[in-house]
C-alpha cells in the first residue's frame, strides 16, 4: 500500500480522535492556567497557582496513596493473571479460545453493575455473611466492604482480563522447543521458567501491569462504591473538583498531572514491548 492510500485510510480515525478527543482534552487542560471565580466559573487571568497546589502535601499524598493502591492492584492482578494465562496457554490448542472467551466474559456486562454485584456479595447482610451463618459460623465477621482492601479486590477483579490477555499473547507464541532446549541443557522446570519463559514473556506482564495501574489510578467508581467514599483516590478528587467544588481550574491541573503520569507509563510500556519483541526474542 502506498503512503497516500494509508494516509487516506487513517484520516477519518485521526480526524475523529483530534476533533472529539484531543481538542476537548486540551481545552479542559488549558483551564488549569486560569483562576476559579468566587462561585465556580472561570476568571481568565493567567496563574500557575493551580499546578502549584497539586504538589501541596494534601493532594500529593492523595496521588501517592492512589499510586500505592493502583500498584498493589497491578501486582496482584499480574500474579493471578499470569498464572491463568500460563494455564490457558498450556491447555490443548482447541480449548484455548473458549477459555479466553470466559476470561473476557465479564467485560460484556456494565462496569457499574459488576461493581454493585460486589456490594450485594460483601455487605454485612450479604451473600457471604449469610452463607457463613448458614454453615454455622457464628459471631461478627470482619468487615468485608468499605475498606481499602475491598477497593483493591474490586480493581483487580475489574482489570484482571486485561492481564490474562496481555500475558497469554507472548505465552502462546512461545516456541516450545526453547523450553525443551533448556531441559536438554539440564535446567529444572523451575529454572527453565525463571530463566527462559518468564524473561521472554516479561513484556506481556509489563503491558498488563501498566494497563491495570493506569486504569486503577484514575478510577473513581470503585473507591466510591466499594470504599464507601472513605478512601479518596485521585480520580475521586478530580471528580469532586469538577462536580462538587466547581473548581474546574484545579480539577484540570490535577488531571494534567495524572495524564502526564499515565502517558509516561504508557511510553515506558511501549519501550518495554519494543525491547521485548525487538531484542530478546530475536536473540533467543
Amino acid at each position: 500500500m502506498n503512503q497516500r492510500a494509508s494516509t487516506a485510510l487513517m484520516a477519518p480515525a485521526l480526524a475523529w480522535l483530534t476533533a472529539l478527543m484531543v481538542v476537548p482534552c486540551l481545552l479542559i487542560l488549558a483551564l488549569a492556567f486560569f483562576r476559579r471565580g468566587l462561585y465556580g466559573g472561570i476568571e481568565y487571568t493567567f496563574t500557575l497557582e493551580n499546578l502549584a497546589l497539586v504538589f501541596d502535601p494534601l493532594y500529593a499524598g492523595i496521588f501517592l496513596n492512589s499510586a500505592r493502591v493502583a500498584g498493589t492492584a497491578a501486582i496482584i492482578a499480574c500474579v493471578i493473571g499470569y498464572a491463568a494465562a500460563y494455564a490457558i496457554a498450556a491447555m490443548p490448542r482447541r480449548h484455548q479460545p473458549m477459555l479466553l472467551f470466559f476470561a473476557v466474559l465479564p467485560f460484556w456486562s456494565n462496569y457499574l453493575i459488576r461493581t454493585y454485584a460486589w456490594i450485594v456479595l460483601l455487605n454485612r447482610e450479604g451473600l457471604i455473611v449469610q452463607g457463613a451463618r448458614w454453615i454455622g459460623i457464628e459471631g461478627e465477621l470482619p468487615p468485608l466492604l468499605y475498606t481499602q482492601g475491598t477497593v483493591i479486590v474490586g480493581l483487580v477483579y475489574s482489570y484482571l482480563p486485561f492481564v490474562i490477555l496481555a500475558c497469554y499473547a507472548p505465552l502462546s507464541r512461545l516456541n516450545p522447543e526453547i523450553a525443551e532446549a533448556s531441559f536438554d541443557l539440564g535446567a529444572s522446570s523451575w529454572t527453565t521458567f525463571r530463566r527462559v519463559t518468564l524473561p521472554m514473556t516479561l513484556p506481556g506482564i509489563a503491558v498488563g501491569a501498566v494497563f491495570v495501574f493506569v486504569l486503577s489510578i484514575g478510577n473513581f467508581v470503585t473507591p466510591a462504591l466499594l470504599g464507601g467514599g472513605q478512601f479518596q483516590m485521585i480520580g475521586n478528587t478530580i471528580y469532586a473538583q469538577f462536580l462538587t467544588a466547581n473548581d474546574w481550574p484545579f480539577g484540570a491541573a490535577l488531571s494534567m498531572v495524572l495524564i502526564a503520569i499515565m502517558m509516561g507509563l504508557l511510553f515506558l510500556q511501549t519501550l518495554a514491548v519494543e525491547r521485548g519483541s525487538g531484542g530478546r526474542v530475536r536473540d533467543a
Binding site: 471565580g37 468566587l38 462561585y39 465556580g40 466559573g41 494534601l58 493532594y59 499524598g61 492523595i62 496513596n65 455487605n123 454485612r124 447482610e125 468487615p143 468499605y146 464507601g228 467514599g229 472513605q230 479518596q232 475521586n236 478528587t237 469532586a240 469538577f242 462536580l243 462538587t244 467544588a245 466547581n246 473548581d247
Partner: protein, 346 residues
Amino acid sequence: MMTTIRASVALAALLGASALSAQTLTISNWDGYMAPDAVGDFTAATGHAAELVLHGTNEEIMGKLIASGGAGYDVVFVSSPFAEILNNLGLAETLDHDRIPNMANLYPQAMELAHDPGNSFSVPYAWGTTGLCYRTDLVAEAPTSWNDLLSPAEDVAGRTTMLATDRWLLAAGMLANGFSVNVTDEDALAQVRDTLIAAKSTLLAYDDTTFYAKLVSGEASLVHAWDGWCNYAIAEDENVVYMIPEEGTDLWVDTIVILAASENKDAAYDFVNYILDAETHGWAAENILYKVPNAPAMAALDPELIAAFPNMGMTPEEMFVFEQLRDVGEAQRAYSRLVTEIMAAQ
C-alpha cells in the same frame, strides 16, 4: 410548485421550531421531586409548553448555570445556599409577587427565611431538618447527641453512615462542637476536621443516597439523614425513628428560582404559581414525604400520615429555632478543602 411547497414546509417547520423554543419552559429539578404528571398538567392547565430536565445535585445544575450565565433554563429547583449564589451572581429574577397569587398559601415563616427575607428571588418548595435516623431494635440506647453518631456506643460502632455532601457533613461536626453551621473561623474548622476524621474509625460509609436502604437491610443501625429520606426507611420498617440531636440542627430549604435570563417569564411565573397551588404542593408532601411550606396543603394532610411519619408534623415554629445553611462566599473553598482532608485521611 414543488419547490414552493418544499420551501413553505421548511419555513413552517423553522417557524414552528423557533416558536416552540421561545415558548417551551425549561424546568430543572431533582428526579422524583414533584408529581410525575406535574409538567403535563401544567401545560394542560395553562397552555404553556414545558419540559422537565433533571439534575442529580445542586452542584451539577450550578455548574451548568454558571457556565452558561443562566441561559437554557427558565425555572430551577436548588437548595437555599445555591439560590443565594444565583442571586449574588445576578442570575436570579427579582420576583414580582403580583404574578404569583398562590404565594399567599405560604406560611408567614416561609416569607421570612434568613437566606431571602421577603422571598425576593426564591420561593421555598420544601423544608425540613437533618438529624439521626435509627433502628430502635438495633440500637441499645437511643441517641441524644451528634456525638452518638460521631463516637457511637460499641453496639453501633461500624454501623453508622454520614452524609457526604460538603455542607451537611461539616454541619454534623460543627454542631457536635457547639459551632454555628456557617462557622468559618479557621481554628473552629480545624477542630471540626479533627472531630470528623476521628469519626471515620467507627463509620461504615459515607452515603447520600442509599442510607435508608442500609438501615432497612440492617447493614447500618444509625444514619445521618434528611428527615424526608428517613421517612422512606420508616415506610419500610416500623422500628425506624427520626430524631434531632440536642445540639440542634440546620433548617434546610429547597427553593424555586426563576432565571433572570429566561425568555419565558410569563410561563415561568405561571409555573411557580401552579406549584404553590395547595393541591399541587400538597402532592409533594403526601407522596415524597417532605414538609412543604404551604399552609393549606399541610392542613389538608391526612392525620394518619403524620402519625406514621411524625416528622411530617413538625411545625414551622419548631423548625425555626434552627439555623439555615447560608452561602459562605470565599470560605466555601476552605470547606471544600476540609472535606478533601477528611475524605483522604487514613
